[in-house]
Symmetry: C2
Subunit: 436 residues, 2 copies
């Protein structure tokens, strides 16, 4: 066995991910020494409550409630407390003392990322956060390094496993929304506050992180257009299925170009995806992210989006990289410098849409609807008229309109005019179509 | 614009990938300076023939036939000549002069990888080779860095686009093997020497590289069990379809554990994959690699496996990383130290099999076959008897046996005994079943 330098590792937080990370650091010490050229000494684990139950049993003598004291003198600080404060303060303390930071804190990075990366750059330390997006799936590092010589044009994917589980059960087992949500909660898929998942906040945090990295800019959660899955009904999913689609909660980050002005759009919403698209076969709690780049073309990254042990794998990858850097010397290779590319309002995006209308079953309806849509500057690609068999609106005629690509602004104006039209009883749903 | 240090980049080779790399270095100079903190100056392009036609027009004054001279004084050397020599000599010269090396040369790494990585470690330089496996898909970096704190147990995937194109056309369009191969050749999918693709050499090179990296050991192409797609017939594909499978040329690298002894198996062969498996929907010339790790679970990486511009994206990612390292100072973070894990012979692997037999259509055949299989220590999971409608063997009965997991050695003994049995006319095919 070679003699190895020792690096002092501080762990903040011992929840489902933190306890697994502690366990890996302890159990795989020899293997990690081989991988990094350094012995990674777990100096301590800062927790709120020394007696709280843990997923994995941890040596009592490593636990402390004093995170600040633990940070002093550490080479690598792993922050897995979650939330904004005190996590932000501890990360800044760690960077201030020259430590490299590894974190999985998406909420913090999506709000204070720019501040944290600036401080890291100033002190020549690194902040790694592979675990913040899509659990064990390597997506941050490919964007930061592998695609650094290319130009990313678009990212879209399923980055929230809980909502994917709910939509998948609705699609595959015909469950109603509340039923699927109840099961997801029972199985532990939902956060303590389910609105974080269901209303798309979690996905929006990840979208902000991905867009910032891919487009070398500063996007915060407030810049993300966000719609949750609360409005998705069994009926919408059934209607999507008949048209060859599946409903997925997507995070979309893309470059827009208009009159020579570059901007980006970052958004989270339930959208239709063709059943032929690889994202359509992402089931259960899994995540998958498509990245399109000018030279590389389309790439997909797929795997478990959450889970203590899976997310711990991503943390450990970052820890090993930080350790190797310490051994190799040299300052931290930080993020690329970030500019500020303007974020376009949702009205500027262009995509395809599916509009479902309940209409009066009388002559001239189709003609009227077609005219309103055309006058709105939207072009119809497909149109299907059926009679609603049961439920709300039974007996009425239903019109499903698939549009060609249109500006969101033109579409929403058109939908408003349709809603006001005499022949339209109800606009049942409007969904964007992605991945085409 | 910030003042940037200048790094001298030498490019060896200006084929389909090299000319795209040159073009990106020249066209995106400002963007690359932003990304790396250094101006990447393309000092020259070494070619064999100054007047050869190129995919992209290159400035004549950059071309030279003297690679050795170009290498001297370079910070980063990009080797895209392919083949063993003189590529190996130039890479060693580059490392000797302290340059970082970026290469896409899978043939070289699969034969002389250990030598090259050793030299790089000695001099503190880095050798990057994301482009050597699966084109633009980031797979080397995730294995080297993201999963470095985890333990990879298995890699399997489609790493040769040409054979995937051929098998896909046979499966989806019912083409005969020679027809599909002819079209693949016409479309430029096959290498100048098609046996590199068709007989699995290309996939075996990539498997050797992946196994070496994932299992921190030294695997050369000679250690890889290799079977090509030459034996795959339209009839095999049709029979696979009826059983719910598709035939893919797979590279498989896995850890084996037997009597407490650890070994690895590295193999390339056509295998059956369930149509429900994500690899089944990898069409055309695309590549996809599944990685299974103890903590991370199953991850999939998918994208274009070849193509000049796509592969250039992977090269550029490595170039940017090398440049950042130069700017940050510090020695190259090389590969993890590599031991030598024994490579198990193919007889030691365990998987499921599908055996197709042509048998005499007479009483007692099933019983005899069942007895021979049982005596061979192989357990039958499914059995289907049909009458062969047309082609060779028309009128005979066909028996398709799906086995439970069995040792390859037991299986091949069993198949030999079946072939010798009076009631078996012909062993039509034996295929392994992967991904289950």
């Amino acid at each position: 066995m070679t003699d190895h330098r020792t690096l002092r590792v501080a762990l903040l937080g011992a929840g489902s991910v933190g306890s697994q990370v502690a366990n890996l650091l302890l159990e795989r010490a020899d293997e990690l020494a081989e991988r990094t050229g350094a012995r990674l000494e777990l100096a301590g684990i800062a927790v709120r409550d020394l007696d709280a139950p843990r997923d994995v049993e941890l040596p009592r003598e490593l636990l402390t409630t004093d995170a600040s004291e633990l940070i002093v003198g550490s080479d690598i600080v792993i922050e897995l407390m979650g939330g904004i404060e005190p996590a932000r303060t501890f990360i800044l303390e760690a960077l201030g003392s020259g430590a490299d930071v590894v974190t999985g804190n998406k909420a913090l990075l999506a709000t204070h990322g720019a501040e944290i990366f600036d401080v890291a750059d100033q002190v020549g330390a690194s902040v790694s956060y592979e675990a913040a997006v899509a659990g064990a799936i390597p997506i941050i590092r490919p964007l930061k390094d592998s695609l650094a010589g290319d130009r990313v044009t678009r990212i879209f994917g399923i980055v929230n496993g809980s909502t994917n589980y709910i939509l998948d059960r609705m699609d595959r087992d015909g469950l109603a929304a509340d039923e699927a949500m109840r099961i997801a909660a029972e199985l532990g898929y939902l956060e303590a506050d389910p609105t974080l998942d269901v209303e798309g906040f979690d996905a929006a945090q990840k979208a902000a992180i991905l867009a910032s990295l891919a487009f070398h800019t500063k996007v915060s959660i407030d810049d993300v257009h966000r719609e949750g899955i609360g409005s998705v009904t069994a009926e919408m999913i059934e209607s999507a299925r008949r048209a060859g689609y599946v409903v997925k909660l997507l995070a979309v980050c893309e470059r827009l170009q208009e009159d020579g002005e570059e901007s980006i759009s970052v958004r989270v919403y339930p959208a239709l995806i063709s059943r032929e698209h690889p994202l359509a076969s992402v089931h259960g709690g899994n995540n998958a992210v498509f990245v399109e780049a000018e030279a590389a073309g389309a790439l997909m990254f797929y795997g478990a989006g959450a889970g203590g042990i899976e997310t711990a794998s991503a943390i450990m990858g970052d820890v090993v990289s930080a350790a190797r850097r310490h051994i190799a010397g040299g300052v931290g290779v930080g993020e690329s410098p970030r500019g500020t590319v303007p974020v376009a309002p949702i009205g500027r995006i262009e995509t395809r849409y599916q509009i479902r209308l309940e209409v009066a079953d009388q002559p001239g309806v189709l003609e009227t609807v077609a005219r309103v849509v055309r006058e709105g500057g939207v072009s119809v690609a497909a149109l299907e008229q059926t009679t609603i068999e049961s439920g709300e609106g039974a007996g009425r005629a239903q019109l499903v309109i698939g549009t060609h690509r249109a500006k969101e602004q033109a579409l929403s104006d058109t939908v408003r005019r349709l809603a006001e039209s005499d022949v339209v009883e109800r606009v049942a749903s409007v969904l964007r179509v992605e991945g085409e």
